[in-house]
Symmetry: none
Subunit: 205 residues, 2 copies
Amino acid sequence: MQHWIFDREAEMLASWQEAMPTARILSRSEVSNIPGGEPGILWCRLRSGEAMDDVLSAIHGAPRYPLVLFCDEPSDAIVMKALEAGAAGCCNTHAAPEVLRQVALVVGNGGLWVGQSLLRQLVGSTARTLGQRSREEKRDDWAQLLSEREVQVARLVAGGASNKEVASQLSITERTVKAHLGAIFEKLSLRDRLQLSVRVNGLTV
Amino acid sequence: MQHWIFDREAEMLASWQEAMPTARILSRSEVSNIPGGEPGILWCRLRSGEAMDDVLSAIHGAPRYPLVLFCDEPSDAIVMKALEAGAAGCCNTHAAPEVLRQVALVVGNGGLWVGQSLLRQLVGSTARTLGQRSREEKRDDWAQLLSEREVQVARLVAGGASNKEVASQLSITERTVKAHLGAIFEKLSLRDRLQLSVRVNGLTV
DNA sequence: TCGGCTATTGAACCAAAGTACAGTCCGCCG
DNA sequence: CGGCGGACTGTACTTTGGTTCAATAGCCGA
């Protein structure tokens, strides 16, 4: 499996090198150098601020290998657009080597690579369309793992409150707030209040 | 990576054996024999005519490993249902060993496995909806007040990243991240990263 | 009644976040 | 040209967040 990586600048990242030792990095004007025939994947980097259309049109003349987009700032909207434009996948430019290898494996076998968050969203939105389960059940799964008091603390913290503010609102000491937060982090396997916020507010991460 | 396979009858298929030589096959009553702790995957076979609810409830008491459903008669509807029930994936009972290895790889790393046809369908059917939604909730008012670089920092922090992680991703020092954050807080009249997360992720406080 | 869970709090500690006060380098614009 | 804003970095500092040792007290089911 041969890999060709396109970037505005011929800059090989360490993670790429590790995941694809035989990869060749090319500037976009060197598209015509790619041979056809052997199995391979095209990777194309979309840097911050670049227009996807420009990037895609730049490699328009390349042989028909599966295309994976490297996004400096990935978002579900970008992934969707890339897939609609015919790409086989889209992943973070700075993804870990193991992830890249996995992407290559899937895409190389004719599959599509979709990030976790988008996949969850797709599954969720279709489920809603089919009108089966309520979306609240999944959103509140974190709440079901916590005690009543912990849920109160979690909601306030996720809304942006400091420990002191939570303490004041609930008429307890800051120390107790910390104790509750510790229990919450433990139960939900979270690192800090930021991740709690993300979890509670249902962000796609 | 340890694999446990559940089936009504303890019948190990050749393809399973080849893909997962160390797998242990168990009848559904032996759920309690599974240890926790080591990394692993539960595979559970849904034979023709069996009710998914019965199968899933049978392994209800098992430790929390990712679950993959083996379907004798897979359909997109079944896959959707399995994912909704919390499974990490669903594939044909008689899938080729290479496919099984790939499923194991993805699921073992915390991913979801969705078959190609369903994935294509999901992408196609929800493209419009998703695009619209992301356009609506875009609410770039915060982004328009910030410089390009600050938007990058804001997105990463709002997603739950620490200063160190942001610094690593953007290849700058932690100090610079703090500088950007300071400017962001000033411009958006925010107090800390938590409030930033709330603002960026569009919570209705 | 006893063990387990929850709620509460304290002291002490370390790490992370954020601020204050600096500076350099670059491109743009009047 | 000189001023301005953005990106970037440094040292030193304060504040907040989170953890590790505790402890007390109430409730509930076995």
